[in-house]
């Protein structure tokens, strides 16, 4: 780990201002991912701005009947919020499917969105990795790729996004609210928040340097049956091989998003329309153009089968 300086800020404006002042600064909240990455010198910030005490820890109703989740709301608190459990069961279920109780107590909403891939080659600084060191190559391609992306990847990177929460938020049409150093606020749909790897896999999101997440908003509840099915080799404390987030209405319509298949929570709106036609049709649209490796080709039938099971479960 490289030496770094540290400060704690009290307001979002102070956070973004501090960022502008020091080169190589990073925000830190729960630190459940960033500190690991710093110990391995995958992340080498010169300065940490601790935003964990910002007053962004509330879950409040929005004027259009949705919820605004403060960026610093802990995963445990979000998962157990009665409004979330009642109206956005998908989100609550996705959250508790992730990490462990201890990590969820510490991890924040914004930090969860911004966690980095768990690609083992990203974590080994002896290995080439375009996400860690642009231009160095990708060791995962042609290597151990059982856990890697099957859609939306590129010749530069086949990493997946590890979050469960973000998959649910994608299905729920959540939006990410931010503020930048100039005090300019914007709202970005989760759909547009993550980048495809392309030739710049080191850029995970569309956030500009120093832009701070202040909240995630959920539109008003859509009802339906909410199922988050996470598939993994062991029963707990494992990243998803794939996951299916589905909201299914009584008439068979609904929406579906996937985790563990791509560089971002994976949803193709056109596939939602296929839901009444069943898992095969939905999967064909969702995973059109998939380019699996020999080691992760199983994810295609796995998605279809898991989705079929989810739809059967939703039908009761």
């Amino acid at each position: 780990m490289k030496s770094f300086t540290y400060e704690r800020v009290e307001t979002p404006a102070a956070a973004t201002a501090a960022f502008a002042k020091v080169k190589g600064a990073r925000f830190i909240a729960g630190g459940t991912n960033l500190l690991d990455l710093m110990k391995l010198e995958i992340e080498t910030p010169a300065h940490l701005i601790d935003v964990s005490r910002l007053a962004l820890d509330k879950i409040e109703p929005t004027t259009d009947g949705g919820l605004r989740i403060g960026a610093m709301v802990r995963n445990t608190d979000l998962a157990s919020d009665p409004r979330v459990r009642r109206d956005y069961g998908l989100l609550s279920r996705a959250l508790v499917a992730g990490a462990s109780g201890q990590l969820r107590n510490k991890a924040t909403t914004a930090g969860n969105l911004l966690q980095r891939t768990r690609c083992p080659y990203f974590y080994d600084t002896n290995m080439p990795c375009n996400k860690r060191k642009p231009g160095s190559g990708c060791a995962a391609i042609g290597g151990f790729s059982r856990l890697h992306a099957i859609v939306g990847a590129s010749d530069a990177c086949i990493a997946t996004h590890p979050s469960d929460m973000a998959v649910a938020m994608r299905a729920l049409d959540a939006r990410v609210e931010t503020v930048d150093a100039a005090g300019k606020e914007r709202s970005v749909a989760v759909a547009d928040f993550y980048r495809a790897p392309g030739t710049t896999p080191h850029l995970d999101t569309v956030l500009a340097p120093g832009e701070l997440i202040t909240a995630v908003t959920l539109p008003k509840p859509v009802g339906g049956t909410h199922i988050y099915q996470k598939v993994r080799d062991r029963a707990s404390y494992a990243f998803a091989l794939i996951s299916v987030a589905a909201i299914v209405q009584k008439d068979g319509s609904g929406r579906v998003a996937l985790g563990g298949v791509g560089h971002k929570p994976w949803r193709v709106e056109a596939a939602d329309a296929d839901l009444p036609r069943g898992a095969k049709a939905v999967t064909a649209t969702l995973l059109a153009g998939a380019k699996p490796s020999h080691e992760n080709a199983y994810k295609l039938p796995l998605v279809e089968r898991t989705l079929a099971g989810v739809l059967a479960q939703a039908r009761g």
Binding site: K2, N126, V231, R232, R234, P301, L302, R305, A308, A312
Partner: protein, 735 residues
């Protein structure tokens, strides 16, 4: 004391203390954090500096250049050790690759430097500033691709690579029912909780090492050999070990580099291996490819049984001895086994819990299940038909005790085996396909010479000193129980001191030989102490009865402590063994029963319940023994369902080198476990009449899981771990 005739009645048979499910005497220290592990021994030497290991970034080749100037100039750096400046180093008897590499590199993450600094953070930061250029060499990293070059290895620990009885080829060819199948098991990591860690301090030419190690005397010897100094100049202390599983049988880079770093920095130095190093720097259980052939008559009698195994290791290494149990487990007149060893440039392969037996039984006990199905026999019935009470390779050698059939039938009854559907894939519970599997558990008992010293003070407290280790197994407690039973004391009157090379040399912890061997050594020392006490009190040792804190002979009754009122009484002895282990095959047996659910849509496999019935001689402490067995069952479940070191065949290393990537079972994976011990004593093993139990539990359990998955789905997967991707294309369509 020499143990060369079967034991008769002795004080242990009183079972006032031995055999009770006593809580661990070190438990409160552990649960309150007062039992210091190696890296936490801040008080043993003042002014400790911190060492951080630099590992090789390549698997095979040489270091072209190593620039240390940036690291040297970093804040707090005191010294940097490399092969260039470490002086001449030997290699320990138990090490295959050098612990400090350079200029030649033998495997990925082989240690090539140690940076010593004032703080841990400084050492770690400076270690990242060591600039190394490599000349990458060509290596062999894939077992399947190296099979053609595999050769017959020399005997290992006295066991030949091949065995042959009768005419296997002829009998197999003539057998009316035949099975010929191949199985693979992957490389496994010990993944113990406490990484290797050591503190080293020099005083002149004397070296003290506080470390985490299973085999104290071996490790003193290997440190002496590696450093080229006399054994007597080394003291090694390892009172608490946070898990070993064979990974700490030998010295590793932490202890050598701590010693070299302490010399270079002229200060005590502590070194822990980072978690990533646990996978590529330290040894692992090697992968195997196994072929099993069984020939039988139509009514299920085995006429031919053959087991071949291929594994790989670095040059000079040894095979994973996966065929050993097939030599002994089932009857059959015509038999063959063979092991072949290929050179692989992966990290060093070496012992991990039930080395050989664990992966061997994962194959053999699936083959037996497959053969039973071919024969139309219940797999328990098939095993019972082929039971043998003698060593099938040497029928003049009986098993000292063999209750495998009893384990199987009792287990079947307790587990509800009769409810198992004999048609695979036919039982369903909601979204889950449900199946049951069974396998034999079988691991040999090993005894080793073991010495101990016992001291009696005037307050009637007995202190036991032996270099025996407690690697989380409960050794402190069973040794205390042994001494208490022998001396007629309550457990609270016994103090146990372990793990210090200044104490008499024990059998150490490994190969499930520790419990019986080390307590037998304490037994021997206590026999001497009893004699000393009787003599001191003017009693005839034969008449003296040690009970309730007193010694009685005739009408004389004296508090035990009175024998030491003029000064401590000290006795020391070692238990040595005659040839009983040659006359008798001493083994431990069991039966594993597993019920699994396989998710009908996703193919996820989840264990629902497990039962082990074990026959392993006298159980010295049923509570500690149960912990050993359920821990081993858990490890076996991991090897069946998730554990696999993923080999990068291009770069030659284990990719998933952390506990997020190398998955071991969590609580949610193991919902219900039960262990039953048969009431058994084996007088041929030692006066304790006990056997090892720490590795029995892992032998066969993986196969029981695999057989249950087959029963649930009708899909036979012969390549471990059994993960859902290997089932998906054969599972029925989702309704």
């Amino acid at each position: 004391m020499k143990f060369d005739t079967p034991a008769t009645t002795n004080p242990i048979d009183q079972l006032k203390v031995v055999g009770k499910p006593t809580n661990r005497i070190d438990g409160p220290l552990k649960t309150t954090g007062l039992a210091p592990y190696a890296y936490e021994r801040h008080d043993v030497a003042a002014n400790q500096a911190y060492g951080y290991v630099v590992g090789s970034a390549i698997a095979k080749g040489r270091i072209a250049s190593m620039k240390l100037d940036e690291a040297r100039a970093a804040p707090g750096v005191l010294a940097i050790v490399t092969a260039d400046n470490a002086g001449k180093l030997g290699k320990g008897n138990f090490n295959t690759a050098k612990l400090l590499g350079g200029p030649e590199v033998d495997h990925y993450h082989q240690a090539i430097a140690l940076v010593v600094a004032e703080t841990f953070e400084q050492a770690r930061a400076a270690a990242a500033l060591v600039r190394v250029e490599y000349a990458r060499g060509k290596g062999a990293f894939e077992l399947a691709a190296a099979l053609g070059s595999a050769v017959k290895p020399p005997p290992s620990f006295g066991t030949e690579a091949d065995s042959s009885v009768g005419d296997f080829a002829g009998a197999f060819a003539a057998a009316p029912v035949q099975l010929d199948t191949r199985y693979t098991t992957p490389d496994h990591a010990h993944a113990m909780m406490e990484p290797h860690a050591s503190i080293a301090a020099w005083s002149g030419d004397k070296l003290t090492l506080w470390t985490s190690n299973q085999m104290i005397a071996w490790s003193v010897g290997d440190m002496a050999k590696t450093l080229g100094i006399p054994r007597k100049n080394i003291r090694l202390d390892s009172p608490y070990v946070g898990g070993g599983f064979g990974g700490k049988l030998f010295i590793r880079a932490d202890v050598l580099l701590a010693a070299l770093g302490a010399k270079a920095a002229a200060r005590p130095v502590k070194v822990a291996l980072p978690r990533a190093f646990m996978f590529n720097n330290t040894p692992h259980r090697p992968a195997t490819i196994q072929r099993i052939r069984i020939g039988a008559t139509a009514d299920g009698k085995i006429t031919a049984i053959g087991h071949e195994s291929w594994s790989g290791d670095l040059p000079g290494g040894g095979p994973e001895t996966a065929v050993g149990q097939t030599r002994l487990l089932y009857a059959g007149a015509n038999r063959m086994t063979a092991m072949r060893l290929a050179v692989l440039d992966l990290p060093e392969g070496n012992a991990m819990r039930a080395p050989g037996e664990a992966p061997g039984m994962m194959a053999l006990e699936v083959a037996v299940d497959e053969m039973a199905e071919k024969l139309g026999l219940d797999p328990i019935r098939f095993r019972i038909i082929n039971d043998t009470q003698v060593d099938p390779e040497k029928p003049s050698r009986p098993f000292s005790q063999r209750q495998l059939n009893e384990c199987l039938t009792i287990g079947a009854d307790k587990f509800g085996w009769a409810k198992r559907s004999t048609t695979p894939g036919a039982s369903r519970d909601g979204q889950w396909l449900v199946g049951m599997g069974v396998a034999a558990a079988f691991r040999n008992n090993l005894n080793g010479p073991s010495a101990a010293r016992v001291r009696l003070d005037k307050s009637g407290v007995v202190t036991v000193e032996t270099d025996m280790t407690d690697i989380g197994t409960g050794t402190y407690t069973i040794i205390a129980q042994t001494a208490a039973e022998m001396m007629g004391l309550p457990l609270d009157n016994v103090v146990v001191k372990l793990g210090d090379s200044a104490f008499p040399v024990s059998a150490g912890s490994g190969g499930q030989w520790g419990a019986n061997s080390s307590t037998a050594g304490v037994y021997a020392a206590c026999v001497k102490l009893r004699e000393a006490v009787a003599q001191k009190l003017g009693m005839n040792p034969v008449d003296a009865v040690f009970a309730d804190g007193k010694v009685k002979a005739g009408r004389q009754s004296v508090a035990l402590g009175d024998a030491a009122k003029d000064g401590e009484l000290v006795a020391e002895d070692k238990m040595d063994y005659g040839d009983l282990a040659e006359k008798y095959q001493q083994s431990t047996f069991g039966a594993h029963f597993v019920e699994v659910g396989v998710h009908a849509a996703t193919g996820e496999i989840r264990i629902r319940r497990m039962l082990a019935v074990c026959a392993a001689g006298r159980i010295l402490n049923p509570k500690a023994a149960r912990s050993q067995v359920i821990g081993a069952m858990t490890m076996g479940a991991g090897s069946a369902l998730m554990e696999e070191l993923a080999v990068d065949k291009r770069f030659g290393f284990f990719v998933n080198h952390d506990l997020a990537g190398y998955e071991v079972p969590v609580h949610a994976d193991i919902p219900h476990q039960e262990v039953i011990f048969l009431d058994e004593t084996d007088p041929t093993t030692s006066p304790m009449k006990a056997k090892g139990v720490g590795e029995l539990g892992i032998c066969g359990v993986g196969a029981a899981v695999a057989n249950a998955v087959y029963n649930a789905t009708g899909i036979r997967t012969r390549n471990y771990p059994i993960t859902l991707d290997k089932l998906l294309d054969k599972l029925p369509a989702v309704a």
